[in-house]
């Protein structure tokens, strides 16, 4: 198993929603994945000192990766989504990495886990590397590559203006427009 140079495929794909909730009292964010059909937006409820309210609901998906050769499965239920850096802070590590890799046609994306769990248990580098491998296996790497990095590299999360790669506004009857980030 350790000798296998895994060839990854997505398996057990689940389609659903990523729900973002915010407590306006302590300004914390929490997220989770749900397959519930029409989650109520702006649903406010109280838990202890916290006043939670749903701030965004996005169409998204979950998956695991399975090796086509040795059948090893790597679970990614802890992955919340990928964020794309919009270069809002020059001194942010992500922006620096992005600029550096752009020259070699390597595109950087930031992987997020669910909040608040991810702050204590960030997605390990090993798994980020597997994701990087998977997406690179899906393309002709002589033309361009992808690199998945950890959200911990973001300099100032509340100020981050990065954009998640998921669908918002699909349930709206209006064409989806530019939206500001959640943090």
């Amino acid at each position: 198993m350790a000798d296998c140079r895994h060839r990854w495929d997505m398996t057990d794909t689940r389609f659903g929603f990523v729900v973002f909730e915010k407590c306006y009292h302590c300004n914390t964010i929490r997220t989770f994945f749900s397959t519930e059909e029409t989650p109520v937006l702006w649903d406010k409820y109280r838990e202890g000192d916290c006043f939670w309210s749903r701030v965004e609901v996005a169409q998204s998906f979950q998956f695991d990766l399975k090796c086509a050769d040795c059948a090893h499965i790597e679970k990614f239920g802890d992955l919340m989504g990928f964020l794309f850096c919009t270069s809002c802070m020059d001194d942010c590590e992500v922006e620096k990495l992005q600029k550096k890799h752009e020259k070699d046609r390597t595109w950087v994306l930031v992987a997020f886990g669910h909040f608040p769990e991810v702050k204590k248990n960030p997605i390990p580098q090993r798994k980020l590397d597997i994701l990087t491998d998977y997406f690179n296996q899906r393309r002709d790497t002589s033309r361009s590559r992808v690199k998945i990095v950890s959200f911990e590299l973001i300099k100032d999360l509340p100020r981050c203006k990065g954009v998640f790669i998921h669908d918002v506004g699909m349930l709206s009857e209006e064409p989806p427009k530019e939206r500001k980030p959640v943090f």
């Binding site: 169409q59 998956f63 990928f82 046609r105 994306l109 899906r138 393309r139 790669i165 669908d167 530019e178």
Partner: protein, 111 residues
């Protein structure tokens, strides 16, 4: 078939700056999750979405080009982002369904 041939044969309008490449297969969806799970490298991705996050989605999967259908207007910041990543954004006034007929006639299969 290359992106250049497609542009010429179907009268598509190239919006971003990019290098031409081979197209193999067509993928149609307006949902990024479907694109990330289903599209394959080199696909021609048809969509009516025009927000700039179609660019990193296209990048992640390495599609050959994004074809925005139905004459939808693509905002300049989406175009600029695509040019930065060497991603082709093409435009057509025709609706998706009509384009399928033409693409099929040119010999392009599904993903």
């Amino acid at each position: 078939m290359t992106t250049k041939e497609l542009i010429d044969k179907l009268g598509l309008e190239p919006l971003s700056k990019f290098e031409h490449r081979e197209v193999n297969g067509v993928f149609i969806s307006d949902m990024l999750s479907d694109v990330m799970t289903g599209a394959q490298t080199g696909n021609l991705w048809l969509t009516i979405q025009t927000q700039k996050h179609i660019v990193p989605a296209a990048n992640l999967v390495d599609v050959a080009a994004i074809l925005v259908t139905g004459g939808k207007e693509v905002p300049q910041d989406t175009i600029d982002l695509a040019s930065r990543f060497n991603i082709a954004i093409l435009s057509s006034k025709l609706p998706t369904f009509e384009l399928v007929g033409k693409l099929y006639a040119l010999g392009l299969g599904g993903k």
